[in-house]
Amino acid sequence: MLVLGLDIGSRTVDAVWLEDGRVADHVVTDTGFDPRAVAEALLTRARFDRLVATGYGRHVARDAFGAEVVTEITAYARGAAHLFPGAGSVLDIGGQDTKVISLGEDGKVADFEMNDKCAAGTGRFLEVMARALGFGLDQMATEALTARSGVGISSMCTVFAESEVTGLVHRGEDRARIARGLHESVAGRTCTALGRVRARGPLVFAGGVANNAAMVELVRAGFDGDVLVPENAQTVGALGAALSASAANG
């Protein structure tokens, strides 16, 4: 049986084709302004027997294509536990939200938390800050890793932090140190959230921001336990969605 898992997020739509429990193909596309059309294009790319959607656009896929739905929380937990059996927790930092999930012994969700309605501490936050620093996104991470210590950033609100960063740049503060400070504050906030849900190691770090080397290093430093980054960090949710179908009906 071929299951298509779709993760319709705010920044990307990710797809995984799962054939008898094995990933046959996967793809990551920009959401753009019409997530429905993007999803529809993915449906025609390859054949599938069943369709499961997750992400904030899951209900759109249910209404438009009759997809089964599962929340991102369950999908990420499933995907992570599949890739790393025995994982204790999951961190997903995506474009506009952050989730921390603690897994029980059985690999199921034991507790979870999502960030508030704003973009604080998400991929979007890092993008805005990179722009304020005049760096590309990857470059900001590389620079952050070169600095020995970070400049303390007092606000996690995207709007306030942006003007704080601009102010620091004008005062001639070293941009690499600012970049490190920004990553430190996101990582610190993330580790606090992990603590609140009593996350155990090993922690699976998924989502787009898991490709950011500085974030990975800082989360590793702040988390008490192993931190594992899957090869295709962005498609863990889509994989989990596809796996949910297999679990439900053999």
Binding site: Y56, T71, I73, T74, V109, M114, K117
Partner: protein, 428 residues
Amino acid sequence: MSENVATDYGRMWAELGMNLPAHCALMNAIPTMYENAYLTQSDRPAGMAYFDFVMSEIHGLRIKELVDHKTAGGKVVGTFCLYVPEEIIRAHGAVGVGLCAGAEWGYNEVEKVLPRNTCALIKSFMGFKMDRVCPYVESADLLVGETTCDGKKKAYELLGEMADVYVMELPQMKRDRDREFWRAEVREFVMRLEELTGKTMTAESLTAAIAEVNGKRRALQRIAAARAADPAPISGKDALLATQVAFYDDVPRFTAMVNTIADELDARVAAGEGAAAKGAKRVVLTGSPMAIPNWKTHDIIEKAGGVVVGEEMCTGSRYYDTLVPETPGASLDEMIDEVADKYLGINCACFTPNDARCSDVVQMASDLGADGIVHYSLQFCGPYQIEAVQVERAARDVGVPFLKIDTDYSAEDVGQLSTRIEAFLEML
């Protein structure tokens, strides 16, 4: 509301000094909210038709009854908190109405005065008054506040500039001397009501009022008990609505209607019929009050396939769980003490310590066979937001999954909340 009825009521609203265009806008919004939340449900108890009617007449028939009562020389007393004893109000021949304050209304006006980070309930009652859109507020001869949370305390001072406001001082602890203090405070309230109504409360009038209000609470207890069944015979939304309406409806009529619904629920339980599917995930809600038309959290949970089986809230068990003892031959003085003591037994987060609330929640979850507990607080409601910590601990101690949400009356966070609630239900 049909056209010709609306015009009849239009005069009544104008005579109450209401702001008609603003009121009209509010009245356009509520039926849609009600339809989306309520009339989309399937397998509702037939008796809920009464509440459909009540809601369609929320600013009509009931207000007319209040106006008639006033014309006949009676008084209307508006309250904002469970602690203000309604038996005492009734015993003075006055009608008590719990003011709802469950909608985001008039915030632009309100935020010119109050800080933005004020809880939605306070902003709402201030907004209703400043905008003159609530006929209950406008028909009240006296508004009774109470010193519970700091936000309300201060807001009552401002409300007092626009209406006649009397504030009861509530203790913050429940020691013997606090009980003495509260009993005295209830007696002061009796004096204020005597002055307002020109009537003297007697042992007979208080006995009758206690019996009537107990009857109302008992009827609600019957609905609550029926919800222990799986499948749940009534949706959480419908049960919530019954409690919300209890705050302002005519007491004998309401009691009779709720008892009819309770009979129907008993029959449904016996026949194994439900308003939700058998095996649907069962949730107990606890936290800040949910006033009409705040159905948001129930709506999200039930549209996601769960069912709310109990509310440990002021619009829930805290309202109907305890009764004033009906002691034959008790003197008026003894009865006043008993009324005061019953109210001091309510477990609100404004008190310290408030451990009894934690045990209430856990007990309710076990009695009703709940799969999980959802803690609901209004944003900026310090007492409940902080007490969520203790409630979470109590839930963890007995191994019941727990989800905490902080929200307000707006629809802004519905997407986010739905995801969290659906994920919670998937986890159970």
